[in-house]
């Protein structure tokens, strides 16, 4: 009989609670076991003699216990693991699993709840705004639940999606637009979020293959833990949001003076009022955000349940968002610690009251000498421009207050995301885990938009009868949308510790995801909600796509120093034809923990030094926005809508229109090279990560001109050309002061990104590029241009000529191509809207119970097209009509331009440097400590958001997602009082 003995014991955490799932190994052997739900373990058949027992668990320091095994006897080993203070042992969420931070080989940044942006947070992505190098998060203005543009390391595509993939608790969510919700992520309650993990390079993201080209954001929600005592947590925030600046238009008195000076013949059109229209359409808005959660474990069932209620007013009158949300997570471990179960269900019910953002623009231009109200009840007692017979004039500005007050635009959106994840550790082979994840993402949206019949803007809408002076229209339309998305994921994970020095982890999986969106077609009505104005399309809307994937990953760790990761994903999408839908996305990376080498092991300078290099290919198949459908490769006929019929011989035919299609459309591929260094100094009180990357997208999905006569369109989504992004990221975390009472930590991050289009397919000598990004004014005017050698966000403008007085000379531009004449070909590429440099800085200082935190963010090298000035920075509003005058921006008094002209819209005069430094947030916190007889703890906070913006930009706000400043909903300054009570 072999001479063997056994070891048993319990693995404990710092609170002496058992750690389930800790790894217990006998060093130098293949013997190993995991601790059970209570942290107990028993390991038999250990060869007699001196042995070393190695106890490990992610996030904790490894413990090595020398023991002497005596044949036939048991040795007790109880070990308390200590939390890995260096954070290197922290578990990091990666695609399909977790990894110790020290084992990570790719470019990954994690932000946990303690580092989230404070204050009134409505959309989850705001939690990490400015916190992660390489990630740009831009809200589309200050409306509650406004959409957000997220860009990780610049956009990798031109016309395919540039949005990152977002995975919530293992469910890749549909980020496509939801009817009735500007931002689909606003349907997630930020209070339920525990961590954000941003996967940036291909080695980290390639496991998500097809949808990973623009990075992956993994969101993990809060969960209960075994052994937790029952805790009730109440978070209550009350906020007040106020507008802090205005678009510089003339006051009523200035306007009177200007009209007198510029066009005395128009003075008779002035009113007698003094109205600041911006003041009239905006208000100081209140927000109440209350969340209660219950966390703990009932017996062996850890759980967390939460409910939230948010009521947020927008600063634009009539704008409001109400969100009720609930979430439940259960995470029991069953079958003698062999089956881990995770159940997550999140549900949200959002009621939106939208306000017509067009009123923001009309508030700028509306004549400030007119009053808000009149005594004419026909038009809701609002001032409107009327004709002699009392009917509204046409093509005149409409009172912005009336626009808002006489419209009710509401939506109700319900969304639920949930999954059940089963992780089974095989009884006969505990190194092998089988994981099954079943998830769903379901949305139900309904909404309606009613424009009151008293609205002068909708007067004479229909039916037309010139003799009927009371004919009013209004309008009413109803919409609904259903999205049903399903997910099935299954993978096997095998972990093998070969000996003390070599560990191999292999993962292989399958994924099936299906997305269905349907929307019925409805008639639209007049404001009476019964007279049909436009017939519904014959067919409702329905679209479906499916992605089926196989993926694998191997991690090899040698001596804890040399870490290798290889991943391969095979993706198949229904969006491409049978010959093109399959693609492989490989990635490989290597990390060298230099610190562990002998020559650095004893270094006092470095507490950590790691080199990471990686390469991989990721893909993009989200062409819906550019292709207009989920079926871009199929030749289809669309039945025309009822307003696009044609009459032949007295019969109305509803034509079938053939649609353009690309039978050869396939994956766009992005190759990413990444190299990074992680430094730790002073026991990792100071850590620095530096990454350099090069990303090249080939088979670029771009909408390009195609030869005439070969397809049913003149521009087609095609795989053509290439573009590149290259950049550097730095991330610095420092615990500058660490003491019992006084603590100060800072985070600084910086990103430099250069984007360039390398090819757009065949080019004729005088091909000027593909114009993009429409502006307001001059139908069809574009301000951007995709051109080889230029950034994809470049502007395309004339070069303005300035006079001796420094003012732009009207209509005079430089003949940049030197052909002796100035025409549209003299427009040139000028600057770009994407920032070249992103900077973020956060500081958290605490003394005893008081803490002060702030975060700063800067964008450098970004330019904005000031569409407000190109529209209103001239006297067109004063001289342009014989029926009314409208306000102008102060720039009109600078330029003296008399009217709007087309070429001037394209002048670089309106391209302004929009670099800025913004203080997003200052939070003062007070930890009141134990309250309620020691049963609870209380934390109070006061926060100011959007504290200041320093910029040279002359418009309202330099931070504009697409670089065109027009009708931007102002981002208010928000004051929040918060209370966080745990019992």
């Amino acid at each position: 009989q072999a001479q063997t003995g056994s070891v048993s014991g319990r693995v404990l955490d710092e609170k002496n609670a058992g750690i389930p799932g800790a790894t217990v190994l006998v060093a130098g052997t293949s013997l190993g076991v995991s601790s059970d739900a209570d942290g107990n373990f028993r390991l038999a058949n250990i060869p007699a003699g001196p042995q070393t027992i190695v106890l490990t668990f992610v996030g904790y320091n490894e413990v090595r216990r020398p023991v002497t095994i005596v044949s036939g006897q048991n040795v007790a080993v109880n070990a308390a693991l200590t939390v890995n203070a260096t954070e290197l042992g922290e578990a990091v969420v990666i695609g399909y699993g977790t990894q110790r931070k020290q084992d990570v080989t790719g470019a990954i940044t994690t932000v946990t709840a303690k580092d989230f942006v404070q204050g009134q947070i409505t959309n989850p992505e705001q939690l990490i705004q400015g916190k992660v190098a390489g990630v740009q998060i831009t809200t589309d203005g200050g409306a509650p639940g406004a959409s957000t543009t997220i860009r990780i390391r610049g956009g990798s595509s031109l016309n395919a999606s540039n949005d990152p993939l977002i995975v919530i608790d293992g469910v890749p969510v549909d980020n496509s637009s939801v009817s009735g919700a500007a931002n689909p992520l606003s349907l997630i309650n930020p209070n339920d979020i525990e961590t954000y993990t941003v996967l940036k390079d291909a080695s980290a993201t390639a496991i998500y293959g097809s949808r990973a080209s623009n990075g992956v954001i993994l969101i993990t929600t809060k969960k209960g833990a075994l052994g937790d005592k029952l805790t009730v947590n109440l978070v209550s925030n009350t906020s007040l949001a106020a507008r802090y600046n205005s678009v510089p238009v003339l006051t009523a008195d200035e306007f009177r003076a200007t009209v007198q000076a510029v066009a005395p013949q128009q003075v008779g059109l002035l009113g007698t009022g003094n109205t600041d229209w911006q003041k009239q359409v905006f208000r100081t808005a209140m927000t109440y955000d209350n969340n209660v959660s219950l966390t703990g474990a009932v017996g062996k069932l850890p759980f967390r349940a939460s409910i939230g209620n948010l009521e947020q007013q927008g600063i634009l009158i009539t704008n409001r968002l109400i969100r009720n949300s609930g979430s439940l997570s259960l995470s029991p471990i069953l079958l003698d610690n062999h089956l881990r179960v995770n159940v997550n269900v999140k549900g949200t019910w959002v009621d939106n009251n939208f306000a017509d953002a067009g009123a923001i623009g009309s508030a700028l231009a509306f004549d400030p000498t007119q009053n808000v109200f009149s005594d004419n009840a026909t038009y809701g007692n609002y001032f409107q421009y009327l004709q002699g017979n009392g009917t509204p004039q046409q093509n005149v500005p409409t009172n912005p207050v009336a626009t808002l007050m006489l419209q009710r635009n509401r939506s109700t959106v319900k969304r639920s995301i949930g999954n059940i994840q089963l992780d089974y550790k095989l009884h006969f082979l505990p190194d092998l885990h089988a994981n099954l994840n079943l998830g769903y993402d379901v949305t139900r949206a309904t909404g309606n938009n009613l424009v009151d019949a008293r609205s002068a803007g909708s007067y004479f809408n229909n039916p037309l009868d010139p003799t009927n002076t009371t004919a009013r229209g209004g309008s009413y339309n109803y919409y609904s949308q259903q999205r049903n998305n399903k997910l099935l994921e299954a993978y096997l994970n095998y972990t093998k510790q070969f000996n003390e020095n070599t560990r191999l982890e292999v993962l292989a999986g399958y994924s099936y995801q299906d997305f269905v969106t349907t929307a019925p077609a409805y008639d639209t009505y007049l404001g009476d909600a019964s007279t049909v104005r436009t017939l519904a399309a014959k067919n409702p809307f329905r679209t479906q796509y499916t992605i089926i994937s196989y993926y694998g990953r191997a991690n090899l760790s040698i001596k804890d120093r040399y870490l290798f990761t290889a991943t391969l994903r095979n993706d198949n999408t229904s969006r491409f034809g049978p010959d093109y839908r399959k693609a492989y996305f490989p990635a490989g990376s290597f990390a060298w923990r230099i610190k562990e080498e002998d020559f650095l092991k004893d270094s006092k300078t470095f507490s950590d030094l790691k080199l990471r290099v990686g390469y991989g290919i990721t893909g993009q198949q989200d062409v819906v926005a550019a292709a207009g459908s989920d079926y871009p490769y199929i030749q289809r006929f669309q039945q025309n809508v009822p307003s696009a019929q044609y009459q032949l011989g007295g019969v109305y035919y509803t034509p079938y229109s053939p649609l353009g299609y690309n039978g050869k459309i396939k994956w766009e591929q992005t190759s990413t090279y990444n190299a990074g260094l992680d430094f730790g100094f002073l026991d990792n009180r100071l850590t620095l990560s530096a990454d350099a990357y090069y990303r090249k997208t080939t088979d670029l999905l771009a909408v390009i001109p195609i030869p005439s006569l070969v397809n049913f369109t003149n521009r087609l989504i095609s795989n053509v050309g290439s573009l590149e992004n290259k950049g550097i990221e730095l991330n610095l975390n420092g615990n500058v002061i660490q003491s019992e009472k006084l603590n100060w930590s800072v985070n600084a991050n910086a990103t430099y990104n250069v984007n360039r289009i390398l090819s757009l397919g065949p080019q004729a000598a005088n091909f000027q590029g593909i114009e993009n990004t429409g502006i307001s004014g001059g139908t069809g005017t574009n301000i951007g241009n995709y051109r080889v050698g230029s950034p994809s966000s470049a502007f395309y403008v004339y070069q303005q000529v300035y006079g001796a007085n420094g003012k732009p000379v009207d209509g005079v531009y430089v003949d940049t191509n030197g052909d002796g004449k100035v025409d549209s070909n003299d427009r040139r590429i000028f600057q770009q809207s994407a920032p070249k440099v992103l900077l973020g800085f956060g500081s958290n200082l605490s003394y005893n119970r008081v803490s002060l935190a702030f975060s700063l963010r800067a964008n450098l090298g970004n330019y904005v097209y000031n569409n407000v000035n190109s529209n209103l920075g001239n006297y067109q509003g004063i001289v342009g009509s014989t029926n009314f005058v409208s306000n102008v921006t102060r720039d009109a008094n600078n330029t003296g331009f008399l009217n709007r002209t087309q070429d001037r819209y394209s002048s670089d005069y309106y391209i302004q440097n929009a670099s800025f430094l913004r203080m997003d947030n200052v939070t003062l916190g007070y930890n009141a400590g134990k309250v309620l007889n020691g049963k609870g703890s209380l934390r109070l906070s006061a926060a100011v958001q959007n504290v200041f913006v320093a910029t040279k930009y002359t418009g309202l706000d330099p931070e504009i997602p697409n670089g065109v400043d027009n009708n931007v909903y102002p981002r208010p300054r928000t004051y929040t009082f918060g209370l966080n009570l745990s019992i």
Binding site: N395, N461, N572, A644, S824
Partner: protein, 520 residues
């Protein structure tokens, strides 16, 4: 589960599903017709239409054709700031201009739609799909009509761009092989034979309502007459005698006659441009619009709205045009106004002059330039159209007065049939002068110059002016100037290469078979 990757559209149809029966063929034939009227399958309110890279409303066939034919001449000028729109009148368009590109794309898109229909409408395919009897006869007529529509679009390509790419129903669609370029002369020959070849299958000319909107033999003859009238320009060889032949054919066997009956709300002439112009006996081929069912921001909606001031004032009442408000854009140069020696007597010369200056000093001030009153959204009895935005009036692509004038010009140029020509011209003149002989001319007056001017008086704003001026060598030369011709206030000559528009740079880039027109 891999078969789940074969997702197909739920409601959109495949080629076989569309062409499964005769009704399916008719819906696609209707698509080919509607390509001249509507801008996309999803209606005017949708974000995109058939043609990309251009505002959807602007991309309308008639609107763009009209702009290229009228805004480039003395007949029309526009005060808007859309990119490239002033280029029309200033004659400084470029090969990358969005409007030059948009018109080209619209024409060739229309040809592609026609080609795809014709590829599915071969005798073999009709037979394979079991279409027989009356259905077969009907679809064969539609097939001939679609060939006519394709010829019409190719004619516009020939006239405007000269040497476009060329493909027929035998060339595959959906591939990537770019088509070859054709020449003006070769295209002329093709169109001539094509229009003659379809004569058998086309419907006979008819005024009956159950044929309204469909292209009859007379439409093909009219197009042939136009082709021949301009053959000297297109091929270098004059074909005026053939023009005379086909114009005569329309006049003699078409059964058309001038609308000579005025109502108490409308002159006889103006009834061709009102909502009930579908009852006019002189319209040979209309593009049919409907305020509710055939909507676009082009076509007659554009032609009605663009000249009208934005809101009612003492000179304007948009309601008189049957619309809620105008778009304040188009007006004319003094040249057109001056064609009418007596605007009181000649009922065609109706202009808004109040509040307007006759001279066009500025191209950005709507109050510069008189504004012709032509297209309206009211009927001959004064009833407003069905919709205040979208206009019911049909666009007269071909009408008899044009054929009379073509006949007369061909007669003068060949010195043949002059008495007959004089009769036709005086039919037009007397209709214009309230069915009196007050405006009638004598044989001696029947000169080429007179006919060019008469064409302008009769057919202004109907999309023939540029072609006419080129035929008379007055489009680019210093022989005839108008305000802002060539981009200067007094007008100046431009290189003769401006008689053709450039092949858009976007197509040159992707089709190596194409060679740019000279001068660009």
């Amino acid at each position: 589960c891999n078969k789940d990757l074969d997702r197909t559209p739920t409601y959109d149809l495949s080629t076989d599903a569309v062409y499964k029966d005769a009704a399916g063929y008719r819906t696609v034939a209707a698509k080919a017709y509607s390509g001249f009227a509507v801008t996309g399958p999803s209606g005017p309110g949708a974000s995109t239409g058939d043609i990309l890279g251009i505002d959807q409303g602007t991309s309308d066939y008639v609107r763009q054709l009209w702009s290229a034919q009228e805004l480039t001449t003395d007949e029309a000028i526009i005060q808007w700031g859309d990119p490239g729109i002033q280029d029309w009148h200033n004659m400084n368009w470029t090969s990358s201009g969005v409007l030059v590109q948009g018109l080209y794309s619209r024409i060739l898109y229309e040809i592609t739609v026609c080609n795809s229909f014709l590829a599915e409408a071969t005798d073999a395919k009709l037979s394979a799909r079991g279409i027989t009897g009356a259905d077969l006869t009907d679809i064969k007529a539609y097939r001939a009509e679609v060939r006519f529509l394709r010829a019409l679009a190719y004619y516009h390509a020939l006239d405007l761009y000269g040497n476009p790419p060329f493909a027929t129903e035998t060339d595959p669609i959906g591939g990537t092989t770019p088509p070859k370029q054709t020449t003006r002369a070769a295209l002329f020959t093709y169109l001539e034979s094509e229009l003659k070849a379809i004569d058998t299958d086309l419907l006979a000319p008819s005024q009956s309502a159950n044929q309204y909107g469909r292209a009859s033999k007379a439409a093909a003859w009219t197009l042939l007459a136009k082709l021949y009238l301009n053959a000297q320009v297109y091929t270098g060889t004059a074909r005026y005698a053939d023009c005379l032949t086909y114009a005569a054919k329309v006049i003699d066997t078409g059964g058309y006659s001038l609308q000579t009956t005025a109502t108490n709300m409308a002159t006889a002439y103006s009834r061709n441009f009102l909502t009930d112009n579908n009852t006019s006996p002189e319209i040979i081929f209309p593009i049919v619009f409907d305020g509710k069912r055939t909507q676009s921001y082009g076509g007659t909606t554009f032609l009605t709205h663009a000249p009208v001031s934005g809101t009612a004032d003492k000179y304007w009442n948009p309601a008189k045009y049957g619309i809620g408000a105008g778009w304040g854009g188009t007006r004319t140069t003094p040249k057109l106004f001056q064609q009418f020696t007596d605007t009181a007597a000649d009922t065609r010369g109706r202009f808004v002059t109040g509040g307007q200056t006759m001279d066009v000093v500025s191209q950005t001030n709507f109050n510069n330039g008189y504004v012709p009153i032509k297209f309206k959204n009211v009927s001959s009895t004064g009833a407003a159209g069905a919709d205040a935005t979208f206009v019911d009036t049909d666009y007269p692509m071909f009408r008899l007065a044009d054929v009379y004038l073509m006949y007369a010009e061909a007669a003068v140029r060949t010195n043949a049939n002059l008495p007959q020509a004089l009769t036709y011209v005086n039919l037009i003149r007397s209709r214009a002068y309230n069915n009196t002989a007050a405006g009638n001319i004598a044989t001696a007056d029947l000169t080429l110059d007179f006919l060019l001017n008469e064409r302008s008086r009769e057919l202004y704003w109907e999309g023939t002016r540029r072609t006419d001026l080129i035929r008379y060598k007055r489009f680019t030369t210093a022989d005839y100037l108008w305000p802002w011709k060539g981009g200067v206030a007094a007008g100046t000559s431009v290189p003769d290469t401006r008689s053709l528009f450039p092949i858009p740079a976007s197509d040159l880039s992707v089709n190596p078979n194409l060679v740019q027109n000279p001068g660009y």
